[in-house]
Structure formats: structure tokens, C-alpha cells
Amino acid sequence: MRSLREALLAIAIVAVATIASVALRDALAPTNLAMIYLGGVVVVAMRCSRWVSVTSSFLSVAAFDFFCVPPYLTFAVSDYQYVFTFAGMLVVALVISTQTARLKEHASHAAVREARTEALYRLSSKLAGETRVFEAARSAATLAEDVFGARVVIFLPEDGNLSFRRRTSDLLPVPPSEESIAQWVFDHGHKAGLRTDVHSDATALYIPLRGARETFGVLAVLPDLENRIFAPEQQQLLEVFAGQTAVAIERTLSQRSAEETRVHMQTEQMRSSLLSAMSHDLRTPLASITGAASTLRTQDDRLPLETKQELLESISDEAERLGRLVGNLLDMTKFESGGVELRRDLYPLEEIVGTVLQRMEPQLEGRAVSTDLAENLPMVFVDDVLLGQVLWNLLENATKYTPPVSPLDLAAFEQDGAVIIEVRDRGPGIPPGEEELIFEKFYRGKSEKARGAGLGLPICRAIVQAHRGTIQALPRDGGGTTFRISLPVESK
């Protein structure tokens, strides 16, 4: 297709040179008319392939002879001097053709090299930030489709075997029966499929993603319309591309195992501090419950009614405390192990606040809580149960650590693309230097009023951070503390 177009262009240019020469035939000497043809050859050489421009060199000499050298319209020559002109013209034309073609090849090689460098640069910068194997593979496949202009799918292994189920595109563009070819490529680390020695009747070309130590998957390329991907330089680029992708996946995996080790160490650390906290916090209420219950059982007839009531009350209070503690421990462990799945949706903040306050009623014991929610507050994209738990924990802390007569305020407003929720009290305030520590697990304020396990605020922080928000404790003007939650405004 392309060579036919070039040939027609070459003929047209020689024709134009001929028309110009014929028109100027009477004004210029034939040797000068040869220059017009040479000009044409230069144009052809710049636009067309080497063979077309060489052919046009011969064509130009022939046309020059036929139209411009007397006698006209015949290849016969009256003056044999023209044989030198023809030879000179042909040599110059051929030199022009070959040199221009060589220059062009250089330029196009440079362009290919540049495109290739750019493609690999884009690949490495795109994959640098990926921490998950599948996401890395998906980015690589998308980029490959862009660079090679062909359909590309990457298949990844599942339980050690390559699987067409783990693939980067939604649709499967190759027949399922070719899974065995991909498996072969995965096992042997050699390419196979279209235009290779193995399974050349396949619908796609399968290239292994080979890293330094192992193969991580298989990249399948479907031929494009013009079969450009089978050009040698594209083939080479494809293989480098596959190699780079494998290296990126390898790095992702090693990063992940480093991360896993770190998490594992943290978990171990947490487990030991958990054990020490548990032994105290769980045993204390248990001791009261066991003590009170056994007293009631063994000394029932000797106890005054009032004492019995007291013991019963302490059983129920301590059981409740134990329940909260176990609940908090479970929540924290769930968060630590990544077992919490956010069920986010758009909620009016008013609704979440209302539910919490309504459920808090018994704990508040009639204490005033003012609510000041800005009008036109955007809906928040949150897990309603978890955000409710954050507010609950903050309000519960406030009721525990501030005098019963002091007021509590709950406010919300929008600021710089975030919804800010504040729980403010008029309590004794948080001692300077402890504002961050109180969010650490098992940290308990220096004041010995604290009776919790030091998990409420860490849970709050874990929940808020899971929503990509922040939570901090700030001293409040006029005394007291403001707990400020900032949630980015997001949509579904």
C-alpha cells in the first residue's frame, strides 16, 4: 500500500520535472535542465524509500533523454557528449538517493529509539508507585496497548499455575483453549504463539514476564491491523517492556514482604502489650464479678437486703465494663489485622449525630449537649456505624473526664474541602505534651481518674484514618479540649 503510494508520488514528481523542463527547453541548455530533474530526485529521496528514489533516478535520466535532448521524443541522441551528461546525472541522482535515504534511516532510528526510551520511562514511572502486583500488571498492560497500538492482556498465576481468570482486561480476547500455551510460556520462560516456533497457529503472541529469579506472568499481544508489532524493533521493544514489567512486579512483591515483616513485628509488639494490659484490665472486673456472685451464693441468708442490691449492681456494672473492654479489644484487633471493611455511603451528618446522641441519652444523665451543624453541609461519604462509634467514644470520654455540670458542644462545618466535626468540652484539658500520646494504644493519662484500657481514642484514630481523615486534640480557648475530626469531602 505504502510503496504503491510512493511509486505514484515519484512518477508524479518526475512528470512535473519533465513538464517544467519542456517549458524551459528553449530558454535553457539541456545540461541545465538536468538540474531540474536532480531537484525532483532530491524531493523523491526525502519523501520515499531508497528503492523508489533509486528507480526515480533512472526514470529521470530516461525522461531527460526522451524529452529534453534533441532529437526530442526519442531515446536517440544527436550529440554523444550527452552520454557524459547522462552518466553524471545518474551518478549524482543515485548518490542523492542513497545518502538521503541513509539520513532518513538514521533519523527514523533515532525516533524509534526515542519512542522506545519514552515508552520505557513511562512504564517505569507508572509502575514505581504501584504496591500491588495486580495493579502494576494492569498499568503495564494499559500502557503497552497505548505504546504498541495493539490489544495487550497480562495473565497472572493463581496458586502457582497461570490462570486466564487472573487477567488485566475484563474480556478475554483470546480463546480459552490457549491457556495451555500461556502455561507453557509461564513454565519455560520462552515466548510462544503467533510468528514463533511454538504454537505458531495461536491467535496471539505470548511473552513471559521474566524477572531475575522467576516468571511472574505472561503478556499476550494480539496482532494489530498492520502487523506492526511484528517488526523487529517492535518485537525487541516488547521483550524489553515485558522484562521491565517483571522487574516492577518483583520489586512490588519484595516491598510487600518487607511490609509484611514490619506489620508482623508490630503485631508481635502489640500482642505483648495487649497481654500485659489484658491481665490487669480484664481481671479487675472479673474479680469483682466473681467476688460479688460468690458472696451472694454462699452468704445469701446473712446479708442485709441493701448489701445484696449493692452486690448485684456491681455485678451488672462490672459486666458492662468488661463488655465494653472486650468490644474495644475486638475492634482494635480487627483494625490492626486489616479485617475491617468500610461500608461507605453518603449520609447527612445530622443523621449520624442524631443517632449517637439518642443512644447516648442514658450515659449523658441529662447533661446538656449543644449541637451546631452548619446549614448546607455536604453529605459525608462514610461508614455510618464506624463514624458513629468515633463520636460515641469522644462523647463518652467527655462524660467520664469532665465535671457533670460542664456543657458539651458538638459542631460541624465545612472548611477547605473538608467537613470538620468538633466535640468540645469545658473539662480540665489535656496536659501539654500528651495531645498526641492519648491516641497511642494503651496510653492512659497521668491523672488516675482514667479507668479505660486506653483503646477508645486509638480506635477513633484508626477509623478516621481509614476514611482518609485526621483527628486531633486541641486546647480550647477559655479552657477545655476540642477534639477535631477532619474528613475530606468525597463523593461515591
Partner: protein, 229 residues
């Protein structure tokens, strides 16, 4: 005769204290330890209410609800573990009437039992056309809503939502159930509509919409209209 309650629960300690509490309230009690036994007794004894633990040894509690709903409308009160919102929603969507999360205080359980029994009785009588809760008065026949004796205008969807909540007063309705009844089965995934409408209803009916007394949210599950006792 006193109402008969069927308790389907495998934990002996929980059965023990429930037996004491329900007995003290004067209810008659039938106990089952497995789902199979519970299903058989539900059919043969026709209890007035079923207390169902979801974590049974032989079968999923949700299956029990499904089976019972195939033939009857006996109120079912589910005893579920804390934080298992998914199970609660599934139980309610299958037709359970209410749930109590473990650990629970007996007082709360008894209140829920009373409410469920009352609902099953009034369902037979048919509710009157005039419903009152707090300052709100709804005339179901004339479709008129008044707050503090002043007429309040509700949009058709707001009214429909209120009507559904009144029909099931005291019962938790999941978001799916409400969306289905008000907007139809093709809209059951669009929960944010529902939230906007609930917020509007609260603004029109509640004294303090930020601390609703009647239109209560069950976090992660749905909504409940709590008429004043």
C-alpha cells in the same frame, strides 16, 4: 392465657437467664436447642413469638426465618452478636420483626417482646385512621399531617414514607424494605434518596431534627418509628 414464647438458642447459660426473666414476666416458654427442633415446635405449638439465636449448631438461623415465613407470620425476634450488621439486615429482609444485640439487658429485651406482641395483635384489629405520636398527628384517611395541631405539608413521597413507617410502627425497617415500599423494587440500591427524605421528614416533624425522638436510625441497618409509650 399468657402468650407462649418459643426460644431457639443453643447456649445453656443464656437459656437459663432468659427462662428466669420470661417466667417472672408470666410468659409461657418453650425451649429448643437446635434449628430442626425449633422448626418442628414452631409448627406444632404455634407460639405467639419466637426468640431466635442466629448462631445455631445445626443450621443457619437465617434459614429458620425463611422456613417459618413460608407458612406463618409469627413475630420473630432475633438475638444477634454485636456488630454483625449484615446478619441483622439479612434477618430483617427475610422477615424477622426485630433484633436485640448480645450482650443485652433484660429490660430492653422485654420491651421489644412487648412491642412485637402488641403489633401482632393490632395487626388483626387494624390500626385506627388517626395516629398520634408526640406533637404529631396523622389522619391516614384524609392524608393530613399536623404538628402541634398545625397542618404540615408533606410531598407525596414524604407522606408515603411516613405511612410505611406508621404501618410498621416500632419495627425496624431495613433501607431495602423502605426503598422497595416507597419507590418500588427497581430503586432498592439508592439509599441516599431515603436518607434525604428521612432528614426532610425529621425537619418537618421532629422538635429537634438533630436529636430525633420518633424517626430513629438503626445505624447500618435502617429506620424505626418509635411512637411514644
Amino acid at each position: 392465657m399468657k402468650p407462649l414464647i418459643l426460644l431457639i438458642e443453643d447456649d445453656a447459660q443464656i437459656r437459663r437467664f432468659l427462662r428466669a426473666a420470661l417466667d417472672a414476666e408470666g410468659y409461657r416458654l418453650q425451649e429448643s436447642i437446635t434449628a430442626e427442633e425449633g422448626l418442628a415446635q414452631a409448627a406444632s405449638r404455634q407460639p405467639d413469638l419466637i426468640l431466635l439465636d442466629l448462631g445455631l449448631p445445626d443450621r443457619d438461623g437465617l434459614e429458620v426465618i425463611q422456613k417459618i415465613r413460608e407458612w406463618g407470620k409469627i413475630p420473630i425476634l432475633v438475638l444477634s452478636a454485636r456488630g454483625q450488621e449484615k446478619d441483622k439486615i439479612a434477618a430483617l429482609d427475610l422477615g424477622a420483626d426485630d433484633y436485640v444485640a448480645k450482650p443485652f439487658a433484660v429490660g430492653e429485651l422485654l420491651a421489644r417482646i412487648r412491642a412485637a406482641l402488641r403489633r401482632s395483635i393490632t395487626r388483626v384489629d387494624g390500626a385506627g385512621s388517626l395516629v398520634k405520636f408526640g406533637p404529631v398527628e396523622v389522619d391516614l384517611e384524609k392524608r393530613v399531617v399536623r404538628v402541634d395541631s398545625k397542618e404540615v405539608h408533606l410531598t407525596p413521597n414524604e407522606y408515603k414514607l411516613l405511612q410505611v413507617l406508621i404501618q410498621h410502627a416500632g419495627k425496624v425497617l431495613t433501607q431495602r424494605q423502605l426503598l422497595n415500599e416507597v419507590w418500588g423494587p427497581q430503586h432498592t440500591e439508592q439509599a441516599q434518596y431515603l436518607r434525604v427524605y428521612i432528614a426532610q421528614l425529621r425537619r418537618k416533624l421532629e422538635r429537634n431534627p438533630a436529636r430525633p425522638k420518633y424517626l430513629q436510625t438503626e445505624p447500618g441497618v435502617g429506620y424505626r418509628l418509635v411512637p411514644e409509650e
